[in-house]
Subunit: 425 residues, 2 copies
């Protein structure tokens, strides 16, 4: 049973495999198609129903109780460019094997479940090719507009609709009715590893937001134009990047992270001083106040840089995502399952976004982490051990089993945001 | 006569015109074709011979002395992306009108010239689309290999050969035999304007070199990866860019310029810390020693940045161009012509590269500058007055006339580099 899972996990890692043990399987590419075809085959082999909806989400559905809603397990099979084998794929493959076990367990015990069990492969969680990220689950949860997302283009001008159609996964099936959702994922940080704990029960997601920064200088000759006569957008942008990096130093350790990951310059010629730099800064913290304060400091510093270089710098907020709390009943369920299985559990926040953050808006949702070696992710060196993956699979199977039997749906106390602000996507 | 020149100049500025008074006429584009077609028409209307060689250089040849070599006037009609109307185009159009005047003057005076007169539109001086710059004249002068240059690709993967063929200017004509070369160009700096001088006689070109810098960090998640666990290539690269900018402060004012104009990052995703940044730094100074010293300082600083971020940074020298001295006889000729015409002249160095730098390697070469307003160039705001252009045209006509009559070819004292180092392209 464990071997079947490991065999499948390591087989899926061959789709889009890179030479340094990673995968490059961006959303709706030929490599993504390979993993989707594998998901379809697995589903058919179990005799489950396969549905693909109109944003490319794939559902493997095992109907146990005719007409009842589904408990969904899952994550995503797409990856970042030169990403890791574990991010997303672990959750989908563990979901498939957990659903299989749950089916067998119900048959063996003769227990009558309350819900059906299904597994989902969400479209484009990574957002590396098509922004924003967490696209498929957000559309499913009604947080993003399907028609707008289908028109989103990659850097080559290919739309989501065209890309999905090209690989044969622009479906038209309705998604299932959902009574609950559970996802397991690698931590992508080093807290579990540092503390030697098997499983994280995710209690809330960090407050995150992005800043769209446009630095407008003046194009000039790199050779002939005197230094004093230049308004170099790249020099000013470099200062912005360093300020974004340094802003975290003013806060509690590990309470905030910041970065610039995307940047383009124009005209990008070796002998022309740049006229325009466009970049995206990413701020994430344990609470809203920290992000708001970091943003305030940055806006001040950016205004100073603009003044110093006699340059215009336009800054816009976007992709603001408020803290999302996962339901207390789900946390307690994970802790109970951990105790029963002899698996150590601690509560943990997630700095990264996940499909479960979107699903948590519409259904009782459980999110679990297994340890990441060295805490690195979104890179080829990303790693988790077979042992930890199998421990997580056992926990997910048990959590899913109890959810199918109605564990979470009677008494969901808290869910979603705690203050009035809503998720802005 | 002056009006004909101005009419032509402002007409050519409509090819690839941008909304802010500039031009976007990169090498071998549809816009470049328009200016080339105009050059061809002008040539045919004069009854001159048109030749296009196998790297796209165009020669308009007026044979006055059967079989004799040519004095060539010229520059380039291609521009930077969103570049100015004057850079290059002024020299070609002034060259055409000067050649016309020289022909008439010879007819009127009955003087028997020693050489023929021709005008050249060099291919791809700018290098914005196809690197390196100064391509057509360097191939003509034997400093770059034609076959290698024909294979150079733009960012879309189109080769020089394909692009020239697509616009119908991949020729097969032999270039003319050259006895001398004269070029007039905008200064692209503000020395002439500041001193109120009409004409610069260019005595030498700055020592220039580029540094190819590859910053190799580690890709990771912008949200989940703790700041301490990152090896952010973009943060390190931003520090490199600021060091490149600041290095000039350690030298005499206006003796050195530096910049980074081209940069790419990978994977360039808003939620991924960059694993690799590639950038090109450009160093130019009045002498070799200054560039060598600035490079030494930079390499030390870059090594420190690499150490601080636990990142590899690879630096390679390329496009090293030694100081080129223009012949003393040519400088004296310009000064004599200036005195005869009542045009003020000063000797001036060029910080930018020009086709004349390549031609100076194979023939007695004269390079002249007219004032640039505000010293800006390679941008839409680049400007020179009609009055200054007409003064330059008079000077070029007279210099060209005297060269056709043998002014420079008897007594060329000094030409080319003064030390042993050769031009590395």
């Amino acid at each position: 049973m464990d071997n079947d899972f490991l065999t499948d996990f390591h087989h899926v890692a061959t789709f889009g495999a890179t030479k340094n043990n990673g995968v490059d399987r961006q959303a709706a590419t030929a490599e993504d198609k390979l993993s989707r075809d594998w998901f379809s085959r697995f589903t058919r082999e179990q005799g489950w129903q396969l549905r693909t909806d109109s944003i490319g989400n794939m559902f493997a559905l095992n109907e146990l109780v005719p007409g009842a809603p589904y408990i969904l397990l899952g994550s995503h099979l797409d990856s970042q460019p030169l990403g890791g084998r574990f991010d997303g794929a672990y959750g989908v493959i563990a979901g498939l094997h957990a659903a299989k076990r749950i089916g067998h367990q119900l048959t063996e015990t003769g227990v009558q479940p309350r819900y059906n069990i299904g597994v989902v492969n969400w479209f484009n969680e990574e957002g590396g090719r098509f922004a924003p990220s967490i696209m498929g689950s957000s559309v499913f949860a009604g947080l993003m507009e399907r028609d707008r997302m289908l028109q989103v283009q990659d850097l080559e001008g290919t739309s989501v609709a065209q890309a999905l159609d090209a690989i044969g996964y622009l479906g038209s099936d309705p998604g299932p009715e959902v009574a609950g959702y559970a996802e397991i994922h690698i931590e992508q940080g080093r807290i579990l590893e540092r503390e030697g704990i098997d499983l994280g029960a995710v209690d809330y997601s960090w407050y995150t937001q992005k800043l769209d920064v446009e630095v407008l200088g003046e194009q000039s000759h790199t050779g002939a134009t005197a230094m004093a006569d230049r308004h170099d957008a790249l020099v000013a942008a470099s200062k912005v990047i360093l300020k974004v990096h340094d802003v975290v130093a003013g806060f509690e350790p590990e309470s905030i992270v910041s970065s610039v990951g995307r940047m383009t310059l124009e005209p990008n010629s070796p002998i022309v001083v740049a006229r325009r730099v466009h970049l995206v800064a990413d701020l994430r913290a344990v609470d809203r106040e920290t992000v708001v304060e970091a943003r305030r400091v940055l806006l001040e510093q950016i205004a100073e840089i603009a003044k110093e270089h006699e340059i215009r710098i336009l800054v816009n907020d976007f992709d603001v995502r408020d803290i999302q709390y996962y339901p207390e009943a789900g946390l307690e369920l994970v802790e109970k399952v951990g105790a029963d299985l002899g698996v150590s559990v601690r509560r943990i926040r997630t700095m990264a976004g996940h499909d479960s953050v979107a699903m948590n808006r519409i259904a009782p949702t459980v999110m679990m982490f297994i340890p990441s070696v060295d805490g690195v992710s979104h890179c080829e060196r990303e790693f988790s051990t077979d042992r930890d993956m199998l421990t997580g699979l056992r926990a997910l199977s048990e959590v899913g089993y109890r959810m199918v039997c109605g564990a979470l749906t009677a008494d969901v106390a808290e869910s979603g945001t705690r203050d009035e602000e809503s998720l802005v996507l």
